[in-house]
């Protein structure tokens, strides 16, 4: 009897203290070092014209004595996370290999393109500082999945955030749904749960993530199609889908690739179809925005800051979308005012929705 993929990836008793240690260090970074930086920053700009933009704030931020310590711990915790999780995955390699193998009873189509071309930015970037990325082997995909659980522990156990995202989509009875850059399927699962009668398909460049997603979906009894492909060159006919989602995808792309992705989504959506993208925007507060830029550099998200400065509704309109709505999103309550605590390291969400004619 093969264990379920969820049993295999669950933390073992002896691993939990390491997870708690990582969480405690991340908490110290955000709840102690960041407020200390805030105090240093306020002292540095005291008596001067208050910076209004990241560019105006950057010279003050760069001179803060605590900045190197904040940056160092950010990088250390990220590297420590992957090292710890790699050790955890290595202890499960044999079980994983057996579990991920295709089975006769597997539901859902599964299409891997052995000639898949990878964009240069994708091959050349170890996103999130994960050595080797998520696309080269099944180990990388499992490391990513376990690492993501550490980062989101408590807040997104069992992908609750993604369930809320699917809940808030306003699209009546879509027949065909596409989840762009689905990874191992966090959003894809939630879409299938919300729309059980729809054909739901996840597309991603990383075949190992698709294998992991297929096994998770089957262990949950979810009939989902998985296909390897590039969001800039979608392997579908025009007018194929009623709903397309992109959660935390766009910020990983260079700006020209975002434009191309919007154009492709517009092409494969049916008339009246909807694209929903979920992302983290800038806070609109100079210190936070500069630190967010540095955080993105540290954890290897090289296109994140440019993405945040760009106007996504304009990109969507340029790609041919007729109606575009861009709004803050509060998955677990709250409001814009609740995000403004100067000493709280909070992550806002932005919901961009574009409809075709």
């Amino acid at each position: 009897m093969t264990n379920s993929i969820f049993d295999i990836l669950a933390w073992r008793d002896e691993e939990i203290p390491r997870v708690r240690s990582l969480l405690a260090m991340r908490r110290f970074w955000s709840a102690s070092l960041y407020p200390a930086l805030r105090d240093e920053y306020e002292a540095a700009i005291s008596g001067k014209v208050r910076p209004q933009t990241p560019d105006e704030a950057r010279p003050f931020v760069d001179a803060l004595p605590g900045l190197p310590r904040w940056a160092w711990l950010d990088r250390h915790v990220q590297d420590r996370l992957w090292q710890d999780v790699e050790n955890m995955v290595d202890a499960r390699q044999d079980e994983l290999a057996t579990c991920l193998t295709q089975r006769d009873e597997d539901q859902g189509a599964f299409e891997i393109d052995s000639d898949q071309a990878y964009p240069a930015y994708y091959e050349q970037t170890d996103f999130h500082r994960q050595t080797g990325g998520i696309w080269q082997d099944d180990r990388g995909a499992a490391v990513y999945a376990m690492g993501a659980r550490v980062i989101h522990i408590g807040k997104n156990d069992n992908f609750g955030l993604h369930d809320v995202f699917a809940r808030d989509i306003e699209c009546e009875t879509p027949k065909r749904i596409l989840d762009l850059a689905c990874g191992f399927g966090k959003t894809t699962f939630s879409l299938k749960k919300k729309y059980p009668d729809a054909v739901v398909e996840g597309i991603d460049l990383a075949a190992p993530c698709l294998r992991l997603g297929r096994r998770m979906a089957n262990d949950w009894g979810l009939d989902i199609n998985w296909r390897q492909g590039d969001v800039e060159h979608l392997p579908y006919e025009d007018n194929s889908f009623d709903l397309i989602t992109a959660t935390m995808l766009l910020h990983e792309l260079p700006l020209p690739s975002i434009r191309q992705t919007f154009a492709e989504a517009n092409r494969v959506l049916k008339p009246g179809g909807i694209l929903v993208a979920l992302e983290n925007p800038l806070m609109g507060e100079p210190l936070r925005d500069v630190l967010t830029q540095y955080h993105s550099q540290i954890i290897m998200e090289p296109f994140h800051f440019d993405f945040r400065l760009a106007n996504m509704p304009d990109f969507a309109r340029d790609a041919g979308f007729a109606q575009v709505e861009d709004k803050p999103w509060f998955p677990f309550g709250g409001s814009a005012a609740s995000m403004q605590g100067p000493k709280d390291w909070l992550t806002p969400w932005r919901w961009t929705e574009a409809r075709t004619n």
Partner: protein
């Protein structure tokens, strides 16, 4: 070579490594501490996390 009795011997990259050693030791210490906590009868997850938070805060406080 510089005066070994007075010059600063560790450059930035060395300091990085020393800091990593300290943080790694902290993680090993936290792992052992949790074993002790369990032997003492603590099993509630929130309580165990709070205990680790306190240790990490204490050890890392010089960074603030």
């Amino acid at each position: 070579m510089d005066d070994l009795a007075t010059s600063k011997l560790l450059g930035a990259s060395d300091t990085d490594k020393v800091a990593s050693m300290v943080a790694n030791l902290l993680e090993e210490f936290v792992t052992l501490s949790e074993r002790v906590a369990k032997l003492e009868g603590s099993t509630e997850a929130g309580e165990l996390q709070d205990r680790i938070n306190v240790i990490v805060d204490r050890v890392m406080s010089p960074l603030v």
